[in-house]
């Protein structure tokens, strides 16, 4: 799921970054800023906050370059920093990240029909943005960042099974939102 091609291309640039080369740092920024900004945007759901997170994450990545040993691709290393920074930002905003509100599950009708032929990317994307923070984070990490439930549990400090149940609730809620009048294009 990761863009594997990046790894080889970046090897030299990463080395130069470790030496504090600003041009190499800019090259990495150019390469990753958009993807990382969208990661940050999905988690924080706030443009200004997403930018703060991106800035913080890149600074932290450049400062801790010596910790990057190349065992994973640079992109996924950086992504982890971005995700952690974004989750911290959301946590600061809301004391409770994952709403354990059972009512939201009960409200969701089970027989949501999935006529995926009518789905539009823009529609799905906007529906994700309408999800409550906790659902949105779990669903985004799983669906869009390619994290499995064990990894999600790790970054959120919850168990794997909690992540699974949060995801299925989030998914139901998402489909429900897409059924709302303003989403049916």
């Amino acid at each position: 799921m990761e863009k594997l091609g990046y790894q080889d291309v970046n090897q030299q640039v990463v080395q130069r970054c470790k030496g504090g080369d600003h041009r190499a740092q800019y090259e990495l920024y150019k390469l990753y800023s958009k993807a990382m900004f969208n990661v940050s945007m999905r988690i924080t759901n706030d443009y200004a906050e997403a930018e703060d997170v991106l800035q913080e994450a890149f600074l932290s990545a450049f400062r801790n370059m010596h910790h990057y040993k190349g065992e994973a691709s640079f992109g996924s290393w950086l992504k982890k920093i971005v995700i952690n920074a974004a989750i911290n930002a959301v946590r600061k905003r809301r004391a409770e990240l994952v709403p354990m509100d059972e009512r939201s599950v009960a409200e969701v009708p089970d027989e949501v029909t999935e006529d995926d032929s009518e789905w539009q990317v823009e529609q799905v994307r906007r529906a994700i943005q309408k999800l409550p923070d906790g659902y949105r984070v779990v669903l985004s990490l799983y669906l869009l960042e390619g994290y499995d439930h064990a990894e999600i549990g790790e970054v959120l400090g919850i168990s794997e099974s909690t992540s699974k149940s949060q995801y299925s609730r989030a998914r139901k809620k998402l489909l429900e939102i897409m059924k709302e009048p303003q989403f049916v294009a």
């Binding site: 030496g19 504090g20 890149f58 600074l59 999935e114 799905v124 994307r125 669906l143």
Partner: protein, 217 residues
């Protein structure tokens, strides 16, 4: 197990990245980045002439200055010497090419510079010998012919020498170079012989056919 939503997102993954950070964000990041790490900075030698404590720096400075002066002096000397050589060895263009790429020649044909030096001195000696006669037989046409012949040999020498750097058959080319130098000496020798024969009866310079022979060598 992949459900329809997962598949849909995976198939359209790129299209979900719709946001871009403001372009000036990099400036903000850049400002907070530490400046280029200290070990990468250029070394600055500080000179503190006011204090006697900074003697080591002064000595270092003097050493560098002395080295520069020495290099400049050597360069100037070599330059002036090169300026003078064309006066004495007027037609030997190869003389210049002998000295210039010496380093390359050493790698390809290490024996060549020595050979060149030997023949160059021989040719120079013959020429100075000849020039003594030249004044006396200034009116003769064949002098011009010999000069032309020497110039021709010289240009073929230069092109041979250029081949030396590109061709793999260095031995053959070195052989041809030596032959070229030998022909020059032979030409000069013949000319000398002619002139020596001519000298006793310089009143009658009527040895045209013999002179032609020498130029055809």
């Amino acid at each position: 197990m992949k459900d329809s939503l997962e598949k849909f997102v995976q198939n359209n993954r790129e299209e979900f990245d719709v946001f871009e950070p403001r372009p000036e964000l990099w400036q903000h990041i850049c400002q907070e980045l530490p400046q280029t790490s200290p070990e990468k900075e250029a070394k600055v030698i500080k000179f503190n002439f006011g204090e006697r404590a900074s003697f080591s720096a002064d000595f270092f400075f003097m050493r560098v200055a002395a080295a520069i002066v020495l290099l400049l002096g050597c360069g100037l000397t070599i330059f002036l010497m090169k300026q003078q050589t064309p006066d004495t060895a007027n037609t030997l263009a190869s003389n210049q090419s002998i000295n210039a790429p010496a380093a390359d020649v050493n790698a390809i044909a290490p024996e060549l510079p020595e050979i060149e030096a030997y023949y160059a001195s021989q040719i120079k000696a013959k020429k100075s010998e000849l020039s003594a006669y030249d004044l006396k037989v200034l009116g003769l046409d064949e002098h011009q012919l010999i000069d032309n012949e020497l110039i021709r040999l010289d240009s073929s020498y230069v092109s041979l020498k250029n081949q030396l750097y590109t061709s793999p058959n260095t031995n053959e080319i070195v052989g041809a170079l030596i032959q070229n130098l030998q022909i020059r000496i032979r030409v000069l020798n013949r000319q000398l012989e002619v002139l020596q024969k001519l000298e006793p009866n310089k009143q009658q310079p009527i040895q045209e056919p013999q002179n032609d022979d020498t130029t055809n060598v």
